[in-house]
């Protein structure tokens, strides 16, 4: 039994025939996606491009997440960082940026092109970028929190005339930990107002050094006509949202992406409960007027 289990843990699965009918849509059954490409963004972070042309899961919205399976290791919730080909309401191509921090993410991080990864989803609430139409978009990212926000930038740029200013404020631990450095330059050329700060500079860094909240005041925001999208560690989101609120941005127009212990993804198991919210179903994206009281409760 132990040997068999060991064999199961190490075997690379082959994609079985996809189930037909209603069972195909069950959120508990992963689909087999193939790693089409693997890009190393930083020393411990990669972006995997996943494809499944035959039986893809439904299309994702920016801010939603998938449960990704490293077969034989486990499953983790990872937000989409790129929506790829979502024609016909199906996610034939997906991008996920993930950091190797534990057993599952280390296995996913190491997945080579051609290997198979299980995908369940889409799960949770999205950023609802379209609701910012006619307003300025303010994106504040901390660390790998830039990954779930990348689709916000891409979708706003794809429909540029619908929005006012697009302001992106990003904080990273060091210059080497900054995600999407090449894309940040491209977005800047495309009219996104990009400001970046790092906690620790190296000798080659000529930019800002300090907390991401220090970028808010110089950005000259128009709080009365902005919608903010904030993602990063909980404490960073709280301080950022408070700083935005202090400048007059209503908490209802500040959105944060909560991270809790998501397991089923469908609100069944309760592992991700945060007060009255099941984060996998009612989040991860919630407005700050809902999130703020919960983020301050020590036991939650």
């Amino acid at each position: 039994m132990t040997g068999q289990r060991t064999a199961q843990r190490t075997a690379q699965p082959t994609a079985p025939p996809a189930p037909a009918g209603p069972a195909a849509e069950t959120p508990a059954v992963p689909r087999f996606y193939r790693v089409a490409s693997r890009r190393e963004d930083t020393a411990d972070t990669v972006t995997l491009e996943l494809t499944e042309p035959a039986q893809p899961v439904p299309a994702f919205a920016p801010g939603q997440f998938a449960m990704l399976t490293a077969f034989g290791v486990g499953e983790v919730p990872i937000s989409v960082s790129g929506l790829g080909d979502s024609g016909g309401g199906r996610a034939r191509r997906l991008e996920h940026t993930l950091r190797a921090v534990g057993a599952v993410t280390r296995a996913l991080h190491a997945a080579p092109p051609g290997s198979l990864i299980g995908v369940r989803g889409p799960f949770g609430t999205g950023w609802d970028v379209a609701s910012a139409a006619g307003r300025d978009i303010v994106i504040v990212a901390g660390g790998i929190g830039l990954a779930p926000l990348r689709p916000v930038v891409l979708s706003a740029l794809a429909d540029r005339s619908r929005y006012g200013r697009i302001v992106l404020l990003a904080g990273a631990r060091t210059p080497g930990d900054l995600l999407y450095a090449g894309e940040l330059e491209r977005w800047s050329r495309d009219g996104v107002e990009v400001a970046v700060t790092v906690d620790r500079a190296d000798s080659a860094w000529s930019g800002e050094v300090g907390l991401v909240t220090a970028l808010i005041e110089p950005a000259g925001l128009a709080p009365g006509n902005s919608v903010a999208f904030v993602c990063g560690p909980d404490i960073m989101m709280r301080f950022t949202a408070d700083a935005l609120a202090a400048r007059g941005l209503p908490a209802s127009r500040i959105r944060v992406s909560l991270e809790r212990n998501m397991r089923c993804g469908a609100g069944w198991c309760g592992h991700c409960q945060l007060g009255p919210l099941l984060v996998c179903r009612d989040g991860p994206v919630v407005s700050y007027d809902r999130a703020a009281p919960l983020m301050r409760v020590r036991e939650l």
């Binding site: 993410t105 904080g171 631990r173 800002e208 909240t213 990063g232 560690p233 960073m236």
Partner: protein, 166 residues
Amino acid sequence: MTGTVTASLSAQPFFAALADSQREALAGDGTAVMVAAGERLFDEGGVADMFWLIELGRIALDMRVPGRGDQIVETLGPGTVLGWSWLHPPYRWQFGAVARLATSAVAFDAPSVRRRCDADPAFGYAMLRAFTPVITERLQATRLRLLDLYAAPHQLSHADIGPVNP
């Protein structure tokens, strides 16, 4: 010249809480300056006899670390104030400061401002109320950076890192 400085002060939220008369008085101790990129404003341990309101550009606060050179601890941009060591004895800079970009600022004669604060407690209190939020914000920012929030568990040097993500 004082009129130019007064206009500069009025344009920046930093001294917004000062009454017009107080702002004009403060402007009397200020001079518009340009600092070239790379120019050092002060060194750690030097006499803190100035402070600056940055209008454009970027200033880095740094500290000389043996074997590692000048380590930047924070950068300051437009609308922020550089220097508060002039407020309290021993009036010595705790860090160094160097312009990272060409910077325009209003430079203040700190001993003169201090004398004005001593002579006019209402003015002194207004100045304190202008500086205290900056000091508080930077202290909070420093504390948050101490938490190393963006670090992965393997990057943290201390043991108590809590549960590790899968």
